[in-house]
Structures are given as C-alpha cells and as structure tokens.
C-alpha cells in the first residue's frame, strides 16, 4: 500500500449526515473543516431549538438526538465554521464563503457535500400571502421556535411531513382545519405495510395517525389547495379533488402550511459540474453517486439527502460510510478494513432504503399539478412571473428552462429559482411534451444568494482599484 494522503477535507453542511461524516473523518486522522449556515450543528431535523422552544415544546427525539450530535462534534477536533455560507466555488473547488467576519476563501480540498434537501413548492392562486408557509418552514417555526403559524392551520401538500406538521400543530395547542394530501390513500397503506422494516418510523407514524384520528381532522387524499383568498381574520382555502375537479371544499384558517416533498439541494454539485440524473420516481434531479457518495469527480463526495432523499436514519449511515470510503480512497485504511467497518451500516442502509424509496412517490404525488396552473397564478414570486407569461414564451419557442428564464425572468430573482423551478419545468413538459431531461434545469450562478455589496468591496480608496487599461479609442 502506498503512503496515506492526509490532505484536508471540507464538509459542507452540519446536519446529521455532514456532522457524522466530519466526526468520522477526523477520527481517521484527516484535518476536517465543517461549514454550516446555522449558528449550531444539527441541520433541519436536529436543528438546535431556541431557549423558548426548549420550554414550550415537549421533549422529543429530535432535541435529544441533536444535543448528542452537537456534543460529539464539540468533543472532536473538527474545525467548525458556523453562521457561514458557501456563495460560490471554482472549478478546482476553492470555496467562496461569507461568515461573521465577512468574505473568505477556502483553498481547494476534498469536499463532502452534505447540504441536505430543499422543499418542493407548487403554486396556486393567491399563494404569495404571508399566511402561507412551507411545511418545512412551519415545522422549524414550531419545533425550534415553539410558535404556531396560526391558531387554525390547513396542512397541505404531499409526503410524510404532512402528518408530522399536523401533529406538531396539535402538540402546541393549535387546531388543524384539514389535511390535504396529493397522494392516494392506498399508497399510504402500502407504505404502512413496509414500515415493519423500520420499527422506529412505524412507532412514530402510528402514534401520529392515532392522535390525528382522535382529533377528528378531515383528510382529503388526491386533493390540493387550488386557491387561497385573504379575509380580515385569515384565509379561505379552496380544496379541489384532483380526479373530480368539480368537487370543492372550502376551509377557513389563520394559516396554511404547504409543501410537496423534498428534493436534494443541488446548487453546489451542479456548479461543481458532477454528473446528475433525474430520479423519475422522486421527480427531482440528483447527483449520480455510488453507495458511499462517490461522484464523477474524485475530489467531491455527496452524502445524506443531498445524494437523494432517504431520510434521517439513512443520512447518518451514509455520512459514516462516506467517511470510511474517503479513508479507503486516500489509503488511510485498507479495503479489508473498509469492508469490516461498513458491513453492519451497509446492511442497515439497504433495509431502510427500501422503505425510503417507497416514500418517494408519496412525496412526488403533486407532479401533475403544474400542468393545470391557472393563467393568473404567479409561478415565480421573486420576479412576479405568471403562468400565462410562461405559456406565451413557450408558444414563442422557448423549449427549455434556461430559455424560459432568459425570456420571462422566471427564476432570475434572489432565490435563483429554488421556489419555481419544479412548477416551471412541470408547465414546460406538459406544454411541449418533452422530458424533464430535455427541459433541463436553471443554470446556477454565483453568488448562490444575495451578498451585501460592501462585503464584496470592503474598505478601499480609489487608488486601490486596479483599473484595467483603457478601451480602444
């Protein structure tokens, strides 16, 4: 065996996958830097609660699990950079950062991308009112802030987060007016049958469902919110049945939480130019990885939900396996040691993955919605682009997302299309009959999010500006 390579590793994202990976990498002897935008590790699920939330939210697995992870990380030699975000990267993986001390750069290193998932949102008439939040956003507000989005809430969208959020509303003393699910009831029953493979999830799901049933909350399957109207005290929400559009139900609520499942955050992996593929079951783009998170670039690994949505338990296992794989690739451990270390985690991973994959169609149950958007519905909130504008650009010949963006500004705003990309793609594929691969993805540009101009310029005098030579006369 040639000599081991202990050059630095940078982990982007301090959630379960990233923090687990960072700790294991440090144990293998690598100098590890962990970057996370939050003030503490934990990611979305293990996010550190506010002091108020610790008092108001009943003790739960997420708090205790998160605290244990944070303690382990603090005890490790991992160099942590919290409240720090990656706003750009070079082809050689120099990372552009902005943190409490302004702009900084991290020289090229092996990068482990563990930046998790983004919630998919699909628009409807009137969705831009502040009384409507994402499911993930509502969950953070309640679990980590101890605050209800409203006293009465309609919970809508698809995937398991629906029931988790509804349960959290009840836990904080709120009322759930209705649960609106894009999925089939039979899909949930089939999933229930598989949960025997994952006892932890089975126990949790059963207790949520019992509680929701006891509260007598109406549940609509194969349905979606088709319009929201603001009233003096809140919202009037129209719920339409997807197979019988004429059947409508109207609910009054103070707020609505709506989200259509998760998709991997691909901003960094796309910019780094690794190979991606469309997962047609999940309805999202994901980086092509092997089981250990290796990509088409030898200096970039992807782990956790960023490599495809599989949930918390799989994220932890993936983080661990990725760390061992890097150790093997760098000749720090032998192939044999790798096998020994990963045998049990891989076995578990395979069992849990079967359940996770069954969740994907439930999360993606809203995929047919964009094709039927009303012309007046705003698709891109940042640039206020309506469905009708997209349709007329498509008619003029825009057949992929980037031409659609260039001609309508859809996706050009501060969020870089994270909110509207799925609905614009759905609308495009429905109108042109092309595939998601042909429709493509918005090209990501730096900075990944708006930067204060003064963070770029710093303190300077006119003579500090390296003026290029004059343009030709």
């Amino acid at each position: 065996m040639s000599s081991p390579d202990f050059s630095p590793v940078t982990v982007i994202g301090g959630g379960i996958a990233g923090a687990t990976s960072a700790i294991a990498l440090a144990r293998h002897g690598f100098p590890v830097t962990l970057i996370d935008e939050q003030p503490a590790a934990g990611g979305q699920i293990f996010r550190a609660p506010s002091p108020y939330a610790r008092q108001t939210v009943p003790p739960n697995h997420e708090f205790s699990g998160g605290d244990a992870l944070r303690q382990k990380l603090a005890a490790s030699p991992v160099d942590v950079r919290f409240s720090t975000r990656v706003w750009g990267l070079s082809p050689t993986l120099t990372l552009d950062l902005i943190g409490p001390d302004g702009i900084d750069q991290l020289p090229p290193s092996t990068v482990v991308v563990a930046n998790g998932a983004t919630e998919r949102f699909l628009p409807f008439q009137g969705w831009t009112t502040p009384r409507i939040t994402g499911l993930a956003g509502a969950s953070i507000l309640m679990r980590n802030g101890g605050t209800l989005p409203g006293q009465t809430v309609v919970v809508a969208g698809s995937g398991p987060l629906l029931f988790s959020v509804a349960h959290q509303v009840l836990e904080l003393g709120g009322k759930v007016a209705a649960i609106v699910d894009a999925g089939h009831r039979s899909d949930w029953l089939r999933l229930g049958a598989m949960l025997s493979l994952d006892p932890a999830r089975l126990t949790q799901a059963t207790s949520w469902m019992l509680r929701l049933q006891q509260a007598g909350i109406p549940i609509h399957h194969r349905a979606n919110i088709s319009a929201a109207q603001e009233t003096e005290t809140g919202l009037l929400l129209t719920v339409s049945e997807m197979d019988h559009p004429e059947r409508r139900h109207v609910y009054a609520a103070e707020a609505a939480a709506c989200g259509y499942g998760l998709k991997p955050s691909t901003l960094i992996t796309r910019t780094a130019g690794v190979q991606h593929r469309h997962d047609h079951v999940g309805g999202y783009l994901e980086p092509v990885t092997d089981v250990a998170g290796r990509t088409s670039r030898s200096d970039l690994y992807v782990t956790g939900d960023a490599a495809g949505i599989r949930g918390m338990a799989v994220a932890r296992l993936r983080g661990l396996i990725t760390a061992h794989a890097i150790a093997q690739d760098r000749r720090v451990i032998s192939a044999r040691t790798y096998e020994t270390l990963t045998r049990a985690p891989l076995r578990r991973l395979r069992r849990l993955e079967a359940v996770s994959r069954r969740m994907l169609p439930l999360m993606n149950a809203g995929s047919v919605i964009p094709a039927h958007l009303q012309d007046e519905t705003i698709v891109c909130r940042c640039e206020r682009v309506k469905a009708a504008t997209l349709r007329s650009a498509i008619e003029a010949g825009a057949e992929d997302l980037n031409q659609l963006k260039a001609w309508t500004r859809c996706g050009m705003g501060p969020c870089q299309g994270r909110m509207c990309e799925d609905s614009a793609r759905g609308l495009l594929t429905a109108a042109c009959g092309n595939t998601p691969e042909e429709a493509g993805s918005f090209t990501d540009r730096m900075p990944f999010f708006p930067l204060p101009l003064t963070a770029v310029t710093g303190t300077f005098a006119y003579s500090d500006i390296p003026l290029p030579k004059a343009a030709p006369l």
């Binding site: 082809p91 010949g397 501060p414 730096m446 204060p452 101009l453 710093g458 500090d464």
Partner: protein
C-alpha cells in the same frame, strides 16, 4: 425547436449561422425582402452575447469611428415597435462619463473630442454640473463628459421579441444545432452540416454571425483572422430605491452603470473573467469582481446599500484593429460575415440591416469593415 431527422436537404436562399442581434436582424430583413431564410444556432437563440450583455446604449464607449452607426442603432432600439413588431423597453437617458484623477481628465477630454468630431453630441461639464445632472454621483469628480443620446434596454426582452418577429416573417429557426462544417456545394452555394441532422442545410449563400466563434468558421472558408475573445463580467444587484437616472461610465471606458425600471442596478464595463470558449466554461476572477464593484460603489456611493444578486460573464469578439467585420468574403458574393462590432448591442440592429441591404442588392458603405482586409483566402480557396 426540437431538431428532427431530415431525409431531404433543406434549400434556402440564405443560411445564417449565429442567432444573435446581428444574424437575427439580417435574417429578418432578408425574409421581409422576399428570401427564404434559415437561422441556425448552436444553442437556443439569443443566449450568447446578445442575451447576456449589459443592454447599454452608449456613444461614450462605442469606438469613435462607429459613432454614426451607434446613433442609428440606438434609434432603431428606441423605435423597435416599428420594425421589430414590439417595444422592447429601450429607454433614452443621458450618459455621463467621469474622471476622478488628472490623468483621467485628460483622457476624458481626448475621448470626448474625437467623438464630437464623429458627430456625438458630447460635451465636457464641470463637477457641479455633473452632480446637477446626476445627483447620485460621487461629488469628488474632476470633470464629466455628458452625452444626451445614451440609454439602456432590458436585454432579456429582446430574444423573445425577435423570436416572434422572425417566425412571423417566415424565417426557419434551427436551434440547438452546432454547425460542424460549412463546405461549398457542387452546383453553387454551401452545405451547412449541423450535428443533429443527417442532411446538411443548403444555402445559395451563407452569412456568418457567430461572434466569438467567427475565427474557427472563417478558417473553414480559408480566412485566417485572429479574433480575440473578451470574457466580460456583469454584476446585478437586488432592487433598491432610485440611486441614479443616467448611464454612468468612467473616462477609460471600464465601467457601465445603470438602474433599470424595476430598481436593480447593473454593473458592467468589460472587466474580465477567465475561460476558454472551445473547452467550455468561464469563471469569475474574484479580484476583478471586487475591482469592478468597488469602482461602481466609488462612482455611486449609495450602492453601499445594495445586495449583489448575481454575477455572470458574456463573450465579446474583437479583431486585431478592433473594427467590425461586415461584408462579402467571396468574389461570387455568396458568403458574408457580420460581427466583432464594438458596443455591438447598440449598433447591432443597424449593422444587421446594412448587411441585409447589401445582400438584397443595395450598396451601403461597408468599406471600413471589409473582412478581407486582414488576409486573402488561402491559395487553395475554401477548404472542403
């Protein structure tokens, strides 16, 4: 358009390679002149320089010799409804070019003088007068050159407008079709072979309007003209309250600064990124990002409230004498080129119209842009 497999070759009066402002304008006027025209592009139309440039209408930064053309191009943009079929939102504003040092002031006066001689209504004004015209500028300036005939266009609106006009005029648009070879066809004209069609697109004549890719394609026709590819950086901010109303630049031409109707500020000026068009991929040079944005903030101090929303790079092509290539490449008058025009977005529509006029039998004065001035075609003639 989704490329389809063709079994029979398509035959056109003119095949235009490169669907940016110049190629598309040429196509539009040729089709209106009665020709059957195809417009081919390696990607979607208006996605290269014509889709990502700063949208500046400027006489300050245009090469002095091109001032008359830039004035005509600017007029066309401001009047796009009459010839393109829709108003693309071009806005006439004053333009101010500023000097902050003694050397810059000297340069400013020199550049203003040669532009005045070419017909640009530019005058040098005092710092007080500059601040009166544009209250947002840094009052420590030494002098400014004022031009009443500047302005800007929201670039993104242009591509869609051209697409509609071209379809209406009956132009066949062949997108996402990289051209692999152009060869003289037996019996005259040229075969343009594109990567996703089995049969070539045949034109009785061809027009090359491929910007940064002209060097390679002119090579196919036997011309060796080194064309420099500039990789220009652009920075746009989030929307902010009005901080300026004119197009601002500095004496050496390396800044363009304007605020659009929606409140976003666009910072350009030709600061360079790095990359290679043949290998693909361009990237921002961090020091140049910082330099460009510092210059903008120095000129308009209130930009310190702004958020940088996006940075991108666009390609510009330049000949050894920095003058355009417009005209016939062959004695048979069956191959033409249009491109490498400094501040090409300002004068682009006019240049495209001139070439169409020339192809349709007119005789516009293109002598200063003769593409054969650098070399005669290789002795063997066009390569096959």
């Amino acid at each position: 358009m989704t490329p389809t497999l063709q079994t029979r070759p398509d035959v056109f009066d003119t095949v235009i390679v490169g669907a940016g402002v110049m190629g598309a304008t040429t196509a539009l006027f040729l089709a209106r002149g009665g020709q059957k025209v195809a417009l081919v592009d390696r990607q979607d139309m208006f996605r290269a320089a014509s889709g990502v440039n700063a949208g500046t209408l400027t006489l300050h930064m245009t090469r002095a010799q091109l001032i008359p053309h830039a004035i005509r191009g600017r007029e066309m943009w401001l009047d796009s409804a009459s010839w393109l079929g829709e108003d693309v939102g071009a806005l006439a504003t004053p333009g101010l070019s500023m000097a902050f040092t003694e050397a810059e002031e000297e340069l400013l006066r020199q550049r203003a003088r040669v532009r005045q001689d070419m017909g640009a209504p530019i005058k040098v004004v005092s710092p007080e007068e500059a601040v009166r015209i544009e209250p947002g500028v840094n009052p420590t300036l030494r002098a400014a050159a004022y031009c009443a005939l500047d302005g800007h266009i929201p670039t993104y609106r242009v591509g869609g407008a051209y697409a509609r006009a071209l379809r209406q005029a009956g132009v066949t648009i062949i997108e996402n079709s990289p051209v692999e070879t152009i060869t003289p066809a037996t019996g005259g004209g040229y075969d343009v072979r594109v990567s996703n069609r089995t049969q070539p697109v045949h034109g009785r004549r061809i027009v090359l309007s491929t910007g940064a890719w002209l060097e390679k394609m002119l090579g196919w026709l036997g011309y060796t003209i080194p064309i420099r590819c500039l990789i220009n950086q652009l920075v746009v901010t989030e929307t902010l309250p009005p901080v300026m109303g004119s197009v601002l630049s500095i004496a050496n031409g390396l800044l363009s600064l304007k605020q659009f109707a929606n409140g976003s500020v666009l910072i350009g000026g030709g600061w360079q990124g790095e990359g290679n068009i043949n290998q693909g991929g361009t990237r921002v040079i961090p020091e140049n990002l910082r330099g460009n944005v510092r210059l903008a903030q120095y000129v308009v101090p209130r930009l310190d409230e702004a958020q940088v929303l996006r940075v991108w790079l666009g390609l510009e092509s330049e000949t050894p004498d920095a003058m355009p290539l417009i005209g016939a490449l062959t004695p048979d008058d069956d191959a033409f080129v249009v491109g490498c025009v400094h501040s090409g977005f300002t004068s682009g529509p006019y240049m495209g119209r001139l070439l169409a006029e020339r192809i349709l039998g007119g005789n516009p004065d293109l002598s200063a842009f003769d593409p054969t001035r650098f070399s005669t075609p290789a002795a063997t003639g066009p390569q096959s």
